[in-house]
């Protein structure tokens, strides 16, 4: 007989996120509810939560880089990154975004995930460049097309960071994989894991690039 009650914790997470409660609160409430429904006494649930949090401190280690990044931003790191990319300006929307995709994947693979992002680069830099390239090539854009170009800019940023970061050996997801497998007695180095992120990274680049080239073609057709 399978005990289905602990699965209620998952339902709580879905509900909590759907109702827009603070995610930390949702996670903690779900953890406690799941433990209690799984038949654990209150103190044991609290201990399990505390133990899990303490054992996974390595996931949060990466933020020791913030003082260095913050200091460099004070001296214009973001502005310099922008001027570097704007000098690489290509002709079409698709090519601009493919270049950004490459830049985003390579930087993420070097562990520099926070040098770019929706707020840092996409809104001030990438989306305007993609829109400008589209307008230059195809004239004034209707609202639906402009919306699509902007959405593609944000999507390209996500694809780049998701499928680049796991190549870096000290990123938190690699450390999480290592920890989860260690629980079953399997010892792997971060390097052994990050190597296997490379084939997917290459395919992600190819698929997203193909879609961006198709976007160029759709923009071209729309003009005729």
């Amino acid at each position: 007989m399978i005990d289905y009650w602990p699965l209620l914790g998952i339902a709580l997470v879905v509900l909590g996120f759907a109702l827009r409660f603070n995610p930390l609160l949702v996670v903690a409430v779900s953890a406690i509810a799941t433990g209690l429904l799984g038949g654990m006494p209150v103190l044991k649930v609290l201990a399990a939560l505390g133990h899990g949090f303490n054992q996974n401190r390595n996931v949060t280690i990466i933020y020791i880089v913030l003082p260095v990044i913050g200091l460099l931003e004070r001296y214009g790191l973001q502005q310099q990154a922008r001027s570097l990319i704007s000098r690489m300006r290509g002709a079409t929307t698709g090519r601009v975004l493919i270049l950004y995709l490459a830049f985003r994947q390579i930087f993420a693979a070097l562990g520099l995930t926070s040098v770019a992002g929706p707020a840092q680069t996409v809104r001030p830099l990438v989306a305007p460049m993609a829109l400008a390239a589209a307008e230059k090539e195809h004239g004034e854009l209707d609202e639906a097309t402009a919306e699509r170009v902007k959405a593609m800019s944000a999507a390209t940023d996500n694809v780049g960071v998701f499928f680049g970061e796991d190549i870096f050996i000290a990123v938190s997801s690699i450390l999480l994989i290592q920890g989860a497998l260690r629980a079953f007695g399997i010892e792997l180095t971060p390097f052994e894991l990050s190597v296997w992120a490379i084939p997917t990274a290459v395919c992600a680049f190819l698929i997203q690039s193909l879609r961006l080239l198709l976007l160029d073609r759709q923009l071209e057709k729309r003009r005729r």
Binding site: V27, A31, G52, F53, L72, L112, F162, F163, Q208
Partner: protein, 318 residues
């Protein structure tokens, strides 16, 4: 020997500096909440191993209360204006990238150097945590280089690091919290339950169906939780380890790494991953709040198929 404990002490010090920066940012009306949050996190990193499990659990509850009851705020103030930053950028040029690159280079090249030379047996660094220790060393070296080269005010790294930390806010510990949730799920038997359910679905002996269920399960669970980090430990406990690795003899590194990446395909398709999918739609002032997800789905699905093939081929047939 330098091991993770040294790094936790260093990280605790960095978090304590975020607390100091929060107190100094007088424009933030909730600065004491921020300072309390970073102080508790610093205590966790400094003394976590001495507090006992219940003690750590109480620290978690305090962090959750500070975030959940909206006791944290952020300050919009910048240390230098955008105009000043543009001038600095013209003055220092691409050299500005170098200190930022010291950190990943120290971690990456240092690890290679350590693993393939006599250093490995010197007992200086714990081989299990060499990458992270070298990352910490890289941060210290980069800070020294920045001080020597840019000559910032003494408190600049504290203030600017704290400014970034407070911009991220409570979300900074969300991945660690989700990992802790995964641990509680495991103890309460959620993985066993899902595994038992999956066991009913999988006809044993079909490796491909096992791989398919593992990858699709990662996607489904990631979409529900909004984060592949929470889904991963559960799916590994349910299918990845007992069926794919133990029963079918799959290669653990592939099952681990590519399983997580299959989960990322789910992250591209869910509104639960608000920081990636909903916040950018708002930032770009899109009419459709699901506009970003809509254009991500046609990338996520072919990529999921690719991941399933990599899992099957590299995990079992290479």
């Amino acid at each position: 020997m330098i091991d993770m404990h040294w790094l936790y002490v260093f990280a605790g010090t960095v978090f304590a500096s975020f607390a100091a920066a929060s107190i100094r940012s007088s424009e933030n009306p909730k600065r004491w909440g921020n300072a309390a949050f970073w102080t508790v996190l610093a205590i966790s990193f400094w003394f976590g191993d001495l507090l006992g499990d219940v003690g750590n659990g109480i620290l978690v509850l305090v962090l959750v209360a500070l975030a959940g009851f909206h006791l944290m705020g952020r300050s919009a103030a910048q240390s230098t204006t955008t105009k000043e930053r543009e001038n600095f950028s013209k003055r220092y040029g691409n050299t500005l990238f170098l200190p930022a690159l010291i950190i990943p280079l120290a971690a990456f090249l240092g690890t290679l150097l350590f693993n393939y030379t006599a250093l490995r047996n010197s007992g200086l660094i714990d081989p299990k945590s060499v990458t992270l220790v070298l990352l910490g060393v890289g941060v210290i070296v980069a800070l020294i280089v920045c001080y020597a080269w840019l000559r910032p005010p003494a408190m600049a790294p504290v203030d600017d690091g704290g400014r970034l930390a407070n911009a991220i806010g409570w979300a900074l510990v969300l991945p660690q919290m989700l990992a802790a949730l995964g641990a509680v799920f495991a103890q309460a038997g959620v993985g066993t339950t899902i595994g038992a359910v999956a066991g009913h679905i999988i006809p044993s002996g079909s490796v491909f169906l096992g791989v398919l269920l593992y990858a699709v399960g990662m996607v489904a669970f990631t979409m529900i939780m909004g984060n592949a980090f929470a889904a991963f430990p559960v799916m590994v406990a349910a299918i990845g380890f007992p069926i794919l690795i133990q029963q079918d003899g799959g290669r653990a590194a592939v099952i681990g790494a590519v399983g997580m990446l299959a989960g990322y395909c789910g992250t591209l398709m869910t509104p639960m991953a608000a920081n990636f999918n909903i916040v950018p739609a708002a930032l770009l002032e899109l009419k459709n709040q699901y506009g970003v997800i809509k254009v991500q789905v046609p990338t996520a699905i072919p990529l999921l198929i690719v991941n399933i093939l990599i899992l099957y081929i590299a995990g079992f047939h290479l």
